[in-house]
Symmetry: C2
DNA sequence: TCCTATAAGTAACTTTAAGTAACTAACAAT
DNA sequence: ATTGTTAGTTACTTAAAGTTACTTATAGGA
């Protein structure tokens, strides 16, 4: 049975609160990177250009709390921590992957649209 | 030919700059609402709970600049402004629609995951 | 022995973005 | 004369994001 009692457009709905938390770039980059295999903290830090340790740590914690990823610490020296996607996270990750890479396939069109807009609205 | 020269993980890539601008809740709500038919400013304001006039106006302007929506003003009194999705915007809108409504279909699982996480990590 | 490096973070501080509230124009209806 | 409508803008505040330095425990090299 689908949850027709949830409405993402209603600001107090749990689904809306959830959506507010997933609709940011760092969350989506992490979900996309974890789609195929587990990845370690510093590896994510290196691969997702521009993310800080603070934002990575914070976002991972939120994703773990929401049951979208798991955190596994290995007692090596120094400690190794691996993040992996859950089955629930996987259902979201596939969609996020399409969205994240949409910009790569439509970059030229958007750049052209921006140039056209800026030319039309110059010094107004 | 796909644009393999674009890489969304590289912070200076145009596709990344584009992704940064679309990866926020207001952008996605607007794209989703315009998916089926053109909608007016105040109608969007009423339907997207929690958005302010400022953020709606600002986000619409960015979407128009990127060629994802069009703005049409009708000389009625008071003036009526209609926003409509473009063919380019439509390709994005379909994916955004899946993402936005994902939370409605998985709300219960996430809520359960949060409760489990909070119970395990209480007063630490 | 001392210095440097590593992994996975945390804490304090600053900057930027988002949210809030009040205000605008031009006219129509009460 | 006051209120209501649409589609915004402006000034101000608060919350989130970004930046930099620091932490713990240990291994490796000079």
């Amino acid at each position: 049975m689908p949850d027709y009692n949830y409405n993402v457009y209603a600001s107090a709905c749990p689904s809306r609160i959830m959506f507010d938390s997933i609709s940011n770039k760092w969350t989506m980059f992490i979900l996309d990177r974890l789609r195929d295999q587990p990845v370690r903290f510093n590896q994510l830090l290196r691969e997702i250009e521009g993310i800080s340790q603070k934002m990575l740590s914070q976002t991972l914690k939120t994703l773990e709390r929401d049951g979208l990823i798991t955190r596994t610490a290995f007692p090596t020296v120094p400690v190794t921590v691996e993040y992996a996607i859950t089955p629930l996270g996987q259902t979201l990750s596939s969609t996020v992957h399409v969205l994240i890479h949409w910009a790569e396939h439509n970059g030229d069109e958007i750049l052209a649209a921006r140039a056209a807009y800026d030319a039309k609205n110059k010094q107004v």
